[in-house]
């Protein structure tokens, strides 16, 4: 088990290999469909959001606000990442992102982006919203909530020991590509 703490250095990212299990501590920013499209179209990050050495989490959490106005994440698993395939590589390059947490894996463009920019894809367990919410210790802030709605907003989250698996590394290796090729071969044998 490798422990990652944000901000992450390029050297740390380059040392990670497909299949490594990691835990993440520090700060992550959620961002999904609306945020990726907005940033890709040239939108600026809101003041206070710095992704340099940081992690984007593909997630639309369930959040509740208490009487003091504090936000609490009550469910927060990853959403399917492949929808961000058209945008992800450019966004990691432009903003210096070192890690992307999501589920289901991403495609060749993102894999090439990981190699070029020194970034990894970290697979969370899809649907495990309660286990993962327990690793979110604090909501620091929220951005674009009015514009994009709560699930699509940028939530700035403090995390502690958040578990994930490296399934795409910065050396052009993708577990998803390997499994898809092997399962295609198995399928052809079984038709």
């Amino acid at each position: 088990m490798t422990e990652l703490t944000t901000p992450i250095t390029e050297e740390q990212v380059r040392s990670l290999k497909v299949g490594d299990q990691v835990t993440i501590s520090g700060v992550v920013f959620t961002g999904r469909d609306a945020v990726h499209k907005y940033l890709h179209e040239g939108g600026e990050l809101p003041e206070g959001v710095n992704l340099e050495g940081g992690i984007i989490y593909h997630c639309g959490p369930v959040v509740q606000q208490d009487d003091n106005g504090e936000w609490h994440v009550t469910a927060a698993g990853p959403t399917t990442s492949i929808r961000e395939e058209p945008y992800q590589a450019d966004i990691m390059k432009k903003f210096g992102v070192r890690g992307v947490i999501g589920k289901g894996g991403m495609g060749p463009k993102t894999l090439a982006g990981c190699a070029e920019n020194g970034c990894v894809y970290l697979h969370g367990i899809g649907g495990a919203a309660q286990v993962l919410a327990e690793h979110i210790t604090k909501v620091r802030n929220v951005y674009f909530k009015e514009e994009f709605g709560s699930p699509e907003a940028i939530w700035e989250l403090e995390v502690q020991g958040f578990p994930a698996v490296v399934t795409m590394d910065s050396h052009n290796e993708s577990l998803h590509a390997d499994v898809a090729a092997a399962s295609q071969a198995a399928l052809e044998e079984n038709l």
């Binding site: 009550t74 649907g127 399962s183």
Partner: protein, 319 residues
């Protein structure tokens, strides 16, 4: 939106159908509370039949692999969600009601009450603010809008009222597929072997993106819309049941065992369990069309249901 306090007499009258009265005399207040409880339970508690399948899948994975570890986290998540009464998955999905009701049942008032219950369940955090205006992109936070929640009513001549609820997440919905046969690249003709080929192709295309191990609901035939609709109603079946039709039963078992030889595994990490179950129905088609409609359900298979009594109180859980 209907209000629930102190109006049950008025509402009682409104809910009873005019003419030949076969409807149960629902009261809004108990029905409202019952529906909130059905939403809460569906969101937080995985049904027993699904949990048994998940435990078997956990046992079946090779020890100390990332696939086994994924199944362990899933198992822990199921326990934690139930204990905390919080959503199993943050994507609380499309809210789909299936209502079996007597002839003459007042569907309109049921829908109004259910919409109010869904809004309240969202406020309580059982559902994420999950419904977006497709044209403006706005999310008003109520989970109510055109087509949301969705209702499927089926009337019968008895006096039972059964309400089933499915919360179907977007990740698994996105990997659903509809094939029109024949399909040349897949060598799929208009027969059961052709169906088998396209269904297995859908599993291969889905990989781990639908949060496997998954469950397939399939309809062979129908038009495009009813094919998909019926494919989803297959998820109302118990996971460990058998198809009444021997041919479809054999196809279900075959697809299940073949899919589990593909090695896609939990989350697409590679592993022994790619699917937990396969459920297939058939519908008549017109001679020109031959659709195979495939819905994929994630492991976080959220569906519950209850028999309700004459005033809308929960009598008995169905799963």
């Amino acid at each position: 939106m209907p209000r629930v306090n102190g109006q049950s007499t008025v509402v009682h009258r409104a809910l009873t159908a005019r003419g030949p009265i076969r409807s149960v005399g629902l009261c809004m207040e108990p029905l409202f509370e019952s529906l909130i409880e059905i939403v809460r339970r569906t969101s937080a508690e995985i049904p027993d039949d699904v949990q048994r399948g998940i435990l078997a899948a956990l046992e079946n994975e090779k020890k100390d692999t990332i696939a086994e570890n994924a199944m362990k986290i899933i198992e822990r998540n199921i326990a934690l969600a139930k204990e905390k009464s919080q959503p199993l998955c943050q994507d609380t999905g499309s809210v789909l009601f299936y209502v079996d009701c007597p002839v003459g049942f007042d569907q309109v008032t049921f829908e109004e009450t259910a919409r109010a219950a869904v809004t309240e369940a969202t406020k309580r955090g059982y559902l994420r603010q999950n419904s977006v205006d497709s044209l403006t992109g706005k999310n008003d936070g109520t989970n109510v809008g055109p087509g949301a929640p969705a209702f499927h009513f089926h009337q019968h001549r008895g006096d039972q009222l059964e309400v089933r609820l499915m919360l179907k997440g977007g990740g698994c919905e996105n990997v659903g597929a509809q094939y029109s046969l024949p399909n040349t690249p897949l060598k799929a003709n208009r027969d059961l072997d052709g169906c088998r080929r396209v269904i297995l192709d859908a599993v291969q295309q889905a990989q781990g993106k639908g949060c496997g191990p998954g469950i397939l609901g399939i309809c062979i035939g129908g038009d495009r819309a009813t094919g998909y609709e019926r494919s989803k109603t297959q998820f109302l079946r118990m996971l460990d049941d058998h198809n009444d039709n021997a041919e479809l039963d054999a196809l279900e078992q075959d697809i299940l065992s073949t899919a589990n030889k593909l090695g896609i595994g939990p989350m697409g990490f590679g592993g022994n369990t790619t699917l937990l179950g396969v459920k297939i129905c058939a519908a008549n088609r017109v001679p020109a069309s031959y659709f195979v409609s495939i819905s994929y359900m994630c492991w976080a298979f959220r569906r519950h249901g209850a028999k309700l009594d004459g005033v809308g109180e929960i009598q008995e859980w169905l799963y």
